[in-house]
């Protein structure tokens, strides 16, 4: 019973919230609103899956939101200046990938702790994004095919939901089913033990941070298509939201450990709460207060799980 609560307590709480909102928030349960909530969760989820990979290797990435903004203005700027959108989209992905890899190098080669390293690259990426745009947004006429990446629908279901599902499933598969995933996990769980078992732990940390950057690139391209504009700081609001989703996820399924399934449910809970609060007519600042409580609450729950691991061999 105890372990069931430890593993599924947060998810069950999420379900209770869902039921309450269905019963009391007008229009919440309509299929249009549900699909809308899911759709809006996709950016959050994709970014959070990336952050999860970094955290699995026990490294923080505080730069993914600004990297996403940078990738967005690169993609947007290229399309704006007449470059074919597939190239521009690839460039956005590449910006994320390279920025994530640079984070990895700064952490594993220059040995700067990731908290500081990614705070630095976040500032650099943010600055570059302003530099490229001159501080204004790229808006204009966009290729409808490009826009359909984020606005298209398959039947009633927005395409974005499929992108989100693909990222979640791929992330879950890699982290749970492949040697790469278990090597990243071992690196985060016990770096020295993993190293002595022949695992290239620094490479695993680089991969974790690179995946976080790549996820930022994916989210950025979809965000540009969704908003049909690209502006510096456009992904900034996702920073704390995505981190909160991952931390909330750490209280689920594999308590105390970042995991993709938990991240996904965590992102869903945060989106549902946001949406529910709006529908219930709560003031907007309540969302920020709620987010702060989620971050602090989740970490205190995880910490009590982690404390049990006193150990030496």
């Amino acid at each position: 019973m105890k372990t069931i609560i430890a593993k599924y307590g947060t998810a069950i709480t999420g379900l209770v919230i869902l039921v309450v909102l269905i019963l009391f928030a007008r229009n919440f349960a309509s299929s249009a609103n549900m699909l809308n909530v899911l759709k809006n969760t996709s950016f959050l989820t994709i970014l959070a899956v990336g952050f999860t990979f970094a955290l699995i290797t026990s490294e923080l990435d505080l730069s993914f939101a600004n990297i996403a903004s940078l990738a967005a203005v690169v993609t947007g700027g290229m399309i704006y200046s007449g470059i074919a959108w597939p190239l521009a989209a690839l460039a956005g992905l590449a910006v994320g990938l390279v920025a994530g890899y640079v984070n990895g190098l700064v952490v594993t080669v220059a040995k700067v702790p990731s908290l500081i390293a990614t705070l630095g690259t976040a500032s650099i990426a943010g600055g570059l994004a302003f530099m490229l745009t001159g501080g204004v947004a790229f808006v204009g006429r966009w290729d409808p095919v490009f826009l359909s990446l984020a606005r298209g629908k398959v039947g009633p279901v927005p395409v974005l939901i499929f992108f989100m599902a693909a990222v979640v499933i791929a992330g879950w598969f890699v982290s749970r089913k492949t040697p790469l995933g278990v090597h990243m996990l071992a690196t985060g769980e016990a770096t020295e033990a993993a190293h002595r078992a022949g695992i290239a732990t620094r490479r695993m940390k680089r991969i974790g941070l690179t995946l976080s950057g790549l996820a930022a690139g994916i989210a950025a391209v979809l965000l540009v298509a969704s908003l049909s504009s690209a502006a510096p700081q456009m992904a900034g609001d996702y920073l704390l939201n995505a981190i909160a989703a991952v931390l909330l996820g750490m209280t689920m399924f594999e308590p105390g450990r970042p995991n993709i399934a938990g991240t996904f449910v965590g992102a869903l809970i945060i989106s549902v709460l946001d949406n529910g609060l709006v529908l219930l007519g709560a003031p907007y600042y309540l969302q920020d207060i709620m987010l702060g409580l989620i971050v602090i609450g989740s970490v205190s729950v995880s910490a009590s799980v982690l404390k049990k691991a006193a150990f030496s061999v």
Binding site: E189, R196, I199, S312
Partner: protein, 262 residues
């Protein structure tokens, strides 16, 4: 300093599995090794003894690629080697059970045993973990140690010290290494578990595996080892066969041989 060559061990194998010459290693101001030598014959059990802080674990870290030596030479099968990392040592057939920091406490037993060398199958070219096969093989490895553990999916931090040691030993077995180094494998163990580890060491030797055993337990050393190297303050002061030694005389050697040099 009197260095006696290790006498020919019983059995056919007399070729050299491992040789260390003049290894030095300093940590800041601490000279952990100041010229350590070690010669281990293939297929033998070779003990490394010495007081606390003599440099035994440091010597093992050099051989297993955990640390790089400041000076000296290491050769495997007569060929000089430079291990850049533990993976290189494992690839050269040397698996090590370290005194500490060997396991990932919150990961499952089977994940610890197969850490770094997981069983996989390819699906569409992608390597996919074979969880059930790893669980079954882990149970077989642990059965070799007569371990009572049955659930391979529980985290290692739920086990007793001896059980953890058994998991660490199984990891080394898993590598199918030609040389297995054990740094104080019986330190945390009870009487019965110690006897099992000693029996395992003998069985490994029968299978032709070379075992390097670090131990403070003189009775264990004379019971199971063919030859012994004694370190004192980072130097090798004696290397000889254990034949004709009992626990008391070995303790005496550790305490007094080379004491004037140190």
């Amino acid at each position: 300093m009197s260095l006696t060559d290790a006498a020919a061990a019983p059995g056919l194998a007399t070729s050299e599995a491992l040789r260390v010459r003049g290894a030095t290693k300093t940590y800041g101001a601490v000279e952990a090794l100041r010229g350590a030598d070690l010669t281990v014959r293939r297929g033998t059990v070779h003990a490394v003894c010495g007081d606390n802080g003599a440099g035994k674990s440091t010597l093992i870290k050099l051989i297993s690629g955990v640390e790089a030596p400041d000076g000296g030479e290491i050769s495997v099968d007569g060929r000089p080697v430079h291990f850049a990392d533990p993976h290189a040592a494992l690839a050269a057939g040397i698996a090590t059970i370290h005194q500490d920091l060997g396991l990932a406490p919150r990961m499952a037993i089977y994940q610890n045993i197969f850490m770094g060398s997981e069983l996989t199958r390819r699906i569409l070219g992608v390597p996919v973990l074979r969880r059930r096969a790893m669980i079954a093989r882990s149970a077989e490895f642990l059965a070799q140690l007569n371990s009572a553990i049955t659930d391979m999916t529980v985290p290692v931090d739920t086990l007793s010290g001896g059980q953890r040691q058994a998991v660490a030993i199984c990891r080394a077995l898993r590598w199918k290494a030609e040389t297995i180094i054990m740094d104080e494998p019986t330190a945390a163990l009870g009487v019965r578990e110690t006897a099992q580890v000693l029996a395992l060491i003998r069985r490994l030797r029968e299978q032709g595996v070379t075992v390097i055993l670090i131990s403070h337990n003189m009775a264990d050393v004379v019971a199971v080892a063919d030859s012994v190297t004694i370190l004192r303050a980072g130097r090798t002061v004696l290397e000889r066969a254990t034949e004709g030694l009992d626990a008391d005389s070995l303790s005496h050697l550790i305490l007094f041989v080379g004491a004037e040099a140190a």
